[in-house]
Symmetry: none
Subunit: 233 residues, 2 copies
Amino acid sequence: MYQMVQYNVLVVDDEKEIRDAIEIYLKNEGITVLKAKDGIEALDILHQHEVHLIILDVMMPRLDGISATYKIREQKNIPIIILSAKSEDTDKILGLQVGADDYITKPFNPMELVARVKSQLRRYVSLGTFEGANKVIDLNGLTLDPVSKEVKAHGEIVKLTPIEYKIVELLMTNAGRVFSISEIYERVWKEPNYNAENTVAVHIRKIREKIEIDSKNPRFLKVVWGIGYKMEK
Amino acid sequence: MYQMVQYNVLVVDDEKEIRDAIEIYLKNEGITVLKAKDGIEALDILHQHEVHLIILDVMMPRLDGISATYKIREQKNIPIIILSAKSEDTDKILGLQVGADDYITKPFNPMELVARVKSQLRRYVSLGTFEGANKVIDLNGLTLDPVSKEVKAHGEIVKLTPIEYKIVELLMTNAGRVFSISEIYERVWKEPNYNAENTVAVHIRKIREKIEIDSKNPRFLKVVWGIGYKMEK
DNA sequence: AATTTTCTTAAGAATTACTTAAGATTGTAT
DNA sequence: ATACAATCTTAAGTAATTCTTAAGAAAATT
């Protein structure tokens, strides 16, 4: 998705089937899912984990969705998406209008759910409510601007392809940390690595060609033998 | 807020719940809130009090939001934020853009409302009577005048449709920043994107046809492969 | 020093993303 | 009701990127 950040979404619904279904759809997008079956449990999880968005069923045993919304708002400013059955009283949903950021009626289209979740996360991040990531990163003259998506090396703008950019972004935002090829693959492609060792290596090569003066003696993108690659801090 | 100034915000909505909720959030930020339940009442209050910003519901009995916007603009230059339900016709809201400075769809996140209110107030105050929002943007000869809503390329006025204008405005006020197709769709249409990739692409094409000399080699509206589009700074 | 493993490099094939055109649909004005 | 304009959909063409294959070089191991 957006900026190489790992998002945690809390799904609160009393039906296990729904919780699990949503989990599948979101995991597919590289989003981590936490689950709770009622409002009380939800508040509990909120205390223990960093959560970036909540999907909340209106009708729940123990602390229903509406009350939960208020409780959550007292503590956190994270986006809330309300889930409700079509049949349920419109007035109730109206009352929610001030507390929630969006709502979806059941049955829902998985694509729609995913789109709305992503959209809210994006807004949350771009509103700056969520600390992080719009600063230019500068590592000894290699710079990355996450807003304009521009990378400069030795003062020159480097034209990177989307995958190359994502790899550079991952390594630069975690400069000094070594990533195995598998890890790079999984975090950039958002799917498990099966046989992609070479694929990543090829991209590393292309990147070096573009950002390094002498790609045989890389100053920025270094290999850590037998382990992986890192960006020099 | 900073600057020790007392701001007065007028909230115009026919639902009491919403008026009250907004009052709570804004008071929390040290902002004074005045309330009206329709356009007529709003104009009344405007005559009696100094108001720095208005939050206006589109759908209201007696003098609806749209007409109210025009009436207010005849007299004052203060920022107007439009509130509208998701269901309400996007085109109508688009048309409104002429009078308003920002708009928010219900349901909304209180934090977002507060953020937008503060941002408008900051602009209004720090730039005198307005200026900021009303400055002509000039990017190497492509100009956009937010007051007359006119775009000129190579000295000629370009006739843009409402959607086209909104896209150009978004890109020009954030020149250099890359927007994904999803982001463009969400910020212009105010709803999450699932399948509108092509829709946006078509508008981009139409815009290029109008503002570029050679739309095959665009000088202003550039693509960033695999990521999105941007307006050249 | 020989062998194995891991990494680098190159070129062409496959895939994906973008552009463009034309017609269908929707909305607005007369 | 009709005409007109704006917007959306579909589909095909074009450009750019990504992947695969395979061979050679460097580091580690024996």
